[in-house]
């Protein structure tokens, strides 16, 4: 068994809340996000999600739970053979929706994140910041109940970071709980929000 990354954490993510998750590199921010996204199970302890204990949820129910959670991966995880538009529309496509029913929504969101002119471009041609925005748009497209973002402004310039933060805030105002894992102090300083600071496997929360 490897080293214990996180221990003695007790916290909740209230509905419609907004918080930053921060801490030094290696503190376990990504691990915590993965635990919240059901892609890791804790060695011990209890995680309840949407009022259910995740360790007792059958595997075939994970997809339905994941559909209620949006995630922005640190490494984007865009599919290189699909265009920006197709990548962003992917969550809707896998839910079996007709393309005509979501086309305008996807195009509108892409326009808002500044990728309106890049809809037919494949990810290898996109810059780091553009990939970042495409990954954010994909996480937002189906209006998740909770959004987990791992360093979502790590590859964008300050004006675009501000704009993306506005997008997260707007999404939060519409009812989505948002957790942003970031190192970016200037980003956190722009918003009065709950701060969860991970350090040496422990979590301190500043409301």
């Amino acid at each position: 068994m490897g080293p214990e990354i996180l221990r003695d954490l007790t916290f909740d993510i209230p509905k419609k809340s907004f918080q930053f998750l921060t801490g030094p590199s290696g503190a376990g921010k990504t691990t915590l996000l993965r635990l919240l996204f059901l892609s890791l199970q804790p060695t011990r302890g209890l995680i309840r999600m949407f009022d259910r204990n995740i360790s007792t949820i059958p595997r075939d129910e994970f997809p339905m739970l994941r559909r209620r959670v949006g995630i922005v991966f640190q490494d984007f995880r865009l599919l290189d053979h699909l265009t920006t538009y197709e990548n962003v529309a992917l969550p809707l496509r896998v839910r079996g929706k007709e393309e005509s029913s979501y086309r305008s929504d996807v195009l509108e969101l892409l326009g808002w994140v500044g990728l309106g002119e890049r809809i037919n471009v494949l990810p290898p041609v996109l810059s780091g910041g553009e990939k970042q925005r495409a990954a954010i748009a994909r996480a937002l497209i189906d209006r998740p109940e909770i959004l987990l973002a791992d360093e979502p402004t790590g590859n964008v310039d300050p004006p675009m970071a501000r704009r993306l933060l506005n997008l997260f805030l707007e999404l939060n105002r519409l009812g989505t709980a948002v957790v942003i894992a970031t190192h970016d102090l200037s980003l956190m300083d722009q918003v009065e929000a709950r701060r969860m600071i991970l350090s040496q496997g422990r979590l301190d929360i500043y409301e």
């Binding site: 068994m1 490897g2 990354i5 290696g26 503190a27 376990g28 990504t30 691990t31 993965r34 996204f37 059901l38 892609s39 890791l40 199970q41 595997r59 075939d60 997809p63 339905m64 994941r66 559909r67 991966f73 640190q74 490494d75 995880r77 599919l79 053979h81 699909l82 265009t83 538009y85 197709e86 992917l90 969550p91 496509r93 896998v94 839910r95 079996g96 393309e99 086309r103 195009l107 509108e108 969101l109 326009g111 808002w112 500044g114 309106g116 002119e117 809809i119 037919n120 994909r138 937002l140 791992d150 360093e151 501000r162 704009r163 506005n166 997008l167 707007e170 105002r173 519409l174 894992a181």
Partner: protein
């Protein structure tokens, strides 16, 4: 959310010039349609299908040839009459034939005349042979009903009593040897067929899994954006079904063409020395409609095999992704 975007679009931080909207390209399949590993898999499937079809055709040819040898030789028996000074050979031949065809199970009797006997001996004794100068045994060929053969023991006894110089050869020794050979040949053929089929199955399974391993990231992304395992599996199944149908189709059609061409060549060159020798060695190249049905069946089996392998591999990949949750030793993500 759309309301928020409309509101925010008016903010100065998001200046956007009004341009004609771009057209979205037709939606691409979730699994990329063509790549190097996919083409390699198609080639592997085509080669294995071709080999399996050729083996199937060859084995069925060998079996039918062995059966035809056995059937031809067991359809006739021979009465040999040795020359004797006191014997009127022509009368003895006629008597032997008449006696033999009185038995139930015989259908016809033919005396091998002097000319035919000379031709039989020509390779050894040369042309222009006068058969009367030599004490050469003469033959009567009796055709029998294979399904209801005569009683050879009684026939032999009756012939020996009537013509002491007569000897009945029912070809039993040859038939027994041929039956044994035919069985052995068929057994070897079946063994080769099983080996080739096993190789085909394993090659197709491993090639499919190899190709899928290059697409693991697609499975992961689909899984994480909320796709159900059955959806992911069906996307990959469709993709691999297309590859396998193309590969198996190419291999099977090529094998069928080979047999059709060989059969055509054989029918066009009947009675030529080349064709006669080839026919004697390998029998007829025609594999009949059952052979072509077998080729079609191989193509279907390969397509099913590839599709099922793709399904199981995708399901297993998803299971492994979920398994990482419960196995701390397999935490492979970034820890920042």
């Amino acid at each position: 959310m759309s309301e928020a975007r409309v509101t925010d679009r008016s903010q100065p931080a998001a200046p956007q010039e009004r341009k004609a909207p771009l057209r979205v390209r037709p939606t691409a399949p979730i699994v990329p349609p063509g790549n190097v590993s996919g083409n390699a898999l198609m080639l592997v499937i085509a080669i294995m299908a071709f080999l399996a079809c050729l083996t199937l055709g060859a084995v069925s040819m060998v079996r039918s040839t062995a059966q035809s040898w056995q059937s031809q030789i067991s359809r006739e028996i021979t009465i040999q009459i040795k020359p004797d000074e006191k014997l009127d050979m022509e009368k003895a031949l006629a008597d032997a034939r008449d006696l033999a065809i009185t038995f139930d199970g015989t259908t016809d009797g033919t005396i091998v005349d002097k000319a035919a006997t000379s031709r039989l001996l020509e390779p050894w004794l040369g042309e222009g042979l006068d058969i009367d100068d030599l004490p050469v045994p003469r033959l009567v060929i009796i055709t029998i009903d294979e399904q209801n053969p005569p009683d050879f023991v009684s026939m032999r006894k009756a012939l020996t009593e009537a013509i002491p110089q007569a000897y009945l050869d029912d070809h039993r020794t040859w038939v027994d040897r041929l039956v044994a050979m035919a069985h052995t040949t068929a057994l070897i053929g079946t063994g080769v067929l099983i080996l080739v089929f096993s190789a085909m199955v394993l090659t197709v399974i491993f090639a499919t899994r190899g190709t899928l391993s290059g697409n693991r990231h697609i499975v992961e992304v689909l899984h994480f954006v909320g796709a159900e395992a059955s959806f992911v599996a069906s996307e990959f199944q469709k993709h691999f079904l297309k590859i396998s149908l193309k590969g198996a189709g190419a291999g099977g059609v090529l094998a069928a063409l080979c047999f059709a061409l060989a059969s055509f060549w054989q029918s066009r060159s009947l009675a030529t020395p080349e064709s006669d020798q080839t026919t004697a060695m390998f029998g007829s190249f025609s594999i009949g409609y059952t052979g072509y049905l077998g080729i079609a069946a191989i193509m279907v089996v390969i397509a099913l095999l590839t599709t099922l392998t793709a399904r199981f591999t995708v399901m297993r990949t998803i299971y492994e992704i979920d398994l990482i949750r419960s196995d701390p030793a397999r935490i492979d993500g970034n820890q920042s």
